[in-house]
Symmetry: C2
């Protein structure tokens, strides 16, 4: 159980409207209560990096006494600078008499671009042994510490940190892609470790150096973080086993034979349209399959659209609603807009479109377009993903997939709400 | 003039195949030569962060003696860790007798996510007074130090750094967008300072805090970096002056009355299709106008496309080539592919499509799509940008714009070549 309360003067006064003594009392009570239900309790003093060090010591000593096993100091607003933050953690650990009874952790935000460096300083200077981080650095505002950067820094600079993470780094890139597909947040090409260009050498000097000796310009190997070197894998003539094998290599295991068969069918359909099937295509195809696994209220049967300059974009769709065929057509500002309006005229979801994003999954004109649609309704936010060589069809699939998620009454483990 | 040569043992031996004495000699010669042509000479010891400190001191002392006015220490492979890198710069400055004769600078890469923190450590611990950085952190591989993050860190943590940059921070976001549009590199939503979510508070706790007192969760104000608070600006009924005024507020000045008139006409056309014109729309519209300013070999007259499930995507286009009308049609894997093939069947450029990217410029179904097309031909790389409420039309515009750039014989100041 993770309990937290803010300990900075600013947060206590303006947000909590509590005195420091009340906050201290509340900290103890929450840990004491959590401890009754679970032996492993984490406590975070919110806005810790801007908290008074003496007060913080009192609070942390008290919660460790109550049984907190992990003390996690957040840099809630991304205000910290590495050396200062590392020294801050060190000071806390030195001043608190029972500090050795807990694992020390940090939780940094990236508002000034230093979340990774701050976390690592907390580890090296401060002696922290847990870093709270996220894939692709996602998180509130400018995001949190990037898992991939922290892991590769500790590994690459083992000489400096003298530590290990026990993470199998070859899963980093596939995981990054999966998260990007599910959330609809693109990874920018120049993102460290997982960006498309992270291992690309564009300048002549660098290329010359790498050809002579890779370590002149490479401190990490692309393979070590899971970039596959052999990009072209499957084609029209590939069989079921080759398909399954490649998915396995990509770290994907389909839940059932039925799911595998459906995915294979989609693969064959795609191979009819597209000569070479890249890893990215397979991942898009499987992500789509996973989305479809939930029971579908809406199913896309067929769609057509047309648009052009001086011509009002137009779309015509046929869907199944709970197995019953329904048709509609609509005009719009563009073919995608017309398609969404046609679907919406049947679905009448009234959902708000928060995000529409297109990624070309592989390069070249015959690439698959992967579309993410984020819808909000009644405070709930869902993402739908669709992939197709036709970007408008991909958009329709994504919209339908999002509608199905809105429809699904199943409670998610961590539902995301809009405020 | 900026001269550089590698000084790390690894680079000297494996890449340059020179002895340290040869490198020392070459460093002196290059600065001596540059100094004859220009009083202001910068010298960089490439892979400086992995160079032997004693050898580096000899090289740097020698080049300062030759007249180098700026000494720029690069962390070429993004290997450095802040505290260590700051101490390294400090040590160099202390050991080199004539170090006070030059401005000290650093050039960091972001391979382990620490470019910003390393640069700032070099400033605070090491006493450097120049940071080489880029907008949106673009650059080789995982990119270079982000200008926006460095500038806002120094400003926000003035208490810690005690320095000023004299940069007008309100230009940061417009500049970031301009660079993103020109290069076709998207800025990920969780990018610090300039990402779409950088100032968005999603969690209920944070929103509650911000409503009570902004500084509980905000260390910077969105306005300070140029996010405009009033997003809706213009509509169908807005006049020429309102249009010009808003552009001026966005930091855009059109070169000529003719350009302003053309941009206004596009604005009116867009306002006919779209109820509300956002700042993003204006910037897209003006970026497009700037692209068209060069003389056009190819002009898009009209286009139509249709696609759907179970239907081969099809596109029909009419273009002017040097004022002469030409028509063509083509099928493709998707409507965009069909459109590109139709254009290519006339242009016969043989160019390779390196990148196809779509950004929804504003949210909502009626948003403008902005498409970037990157083409490579004969070693030259060009980007074309097109915006339209119809993403297939936007794609055609972007492709045509890229073709025109390939066609243009004009030498660019810094042409980009493919290796």
């Amino acid at each position: 159980i993770h309990t937290f309360i803010a300990t900075s003067a600013l947060h206590m006064e303006k947000k909590l409207r509590m005195t420091p003594e009340q906050v201290l009392e509340q900290s103890k009570l929450s840990v004491r209560f959590a401890k009754k239900h679970c032996p492993d309790v984490e406590f975070s003093p919110e806005d810790g990096s801007r908290s008074d060090v003496d007060f913080l010591c009192r609070v942390l000593e008290a919660v460790i006494k109550e049984g907190a096993t992990t003390i996690n100091v957040p840099d809630t607003v991304g205000y910290a600078v590495p050396e200062q933050f590392g020294e801050f953690i060190k000071r806390l650990r030195e001043k608190i008499p029972n500090s050795d009874k807990a694992v020390w952790s940090v939780h940094c935000h990236n508002d000034l671009g230093m979340a990774v460096a701050n976390s690592l300083a907390a580890v090296r200077i401060g002696g922290a042994r847990q870093i709270e981080c996220t894939i692709n650095g996602l998180g509130e505002r400018a995001g949190n510490t990037s898992l991939e950067e922290v892991v590769m820094a500790i590994r690459t600079r083992k000489d400096f940190f003298g530590l290990e993470t026990r993470i199998d780094t070859t899963h980093i890139v596939p995981t990054s892609r999966l998260v990007s597909q599910i959330t609809g947040f693109v990874v920018q090409p120049n993102k460290a470790v997982v960006g498309a260009n992270a291992f690309a050498h564009a300048s002549g000097i660098h290329q010359d150096g790498v050809l002579k000796a890779r370590d002149t310009y490479e401190i990490m190997r692309a393979e070590d973080v899971g970039w596959s070197t052999n990009k072209i894998v499957l084609g029209k003539l590939s069989g079921r086993n080759a398909f399954k094998q490649r998915l396995k290599e990509l770290g994907v295991e389909l839940e059932s034979d039925d799911a595998a068969n459906k995915a294979f069918q989609r693969f064959k359909d795609l191979a009819d349209k597209k000569a070479e099937i890249f890893d990215e295509d397979l991942l898009a195809l499987v992500a789509q399959e996973a989305g479809v696994a939930a029971q579908e209220h809406w199913q896309l049967v067929t769609m057509n659209q047309a648009s052009g300059m001086g011509q009002k974009p137009f779309a015509k769709i046929t869907v199944l609603e709970d197995g019953k065929e329904k048709k509609s057509e609509s005009q719009g500002d563009g073919p995608v807009d017309a398609t969404f309006k046609a679907i919406e005229s049947l679905a009448k979801s009234g959902a708000e479109l928060l995000l529409y994003s297109v990624n070309a999954v592989t390069q070249g004109t015959e690439s698959q377009g992967e579309v993410t649609v984020r819808l909000a309704k009644g405070g709930r936010i869902v993402n739908g993903v669709g992939a197709d060589t036709d970007i408008v069809v991909a958009s329709a699939k994504a919209y339908i997939s999002a509608l199905n998620k809105l429809e699904s009454k199943a409670q998610r483990v961590n539902p995301q709400y809009q405020n």
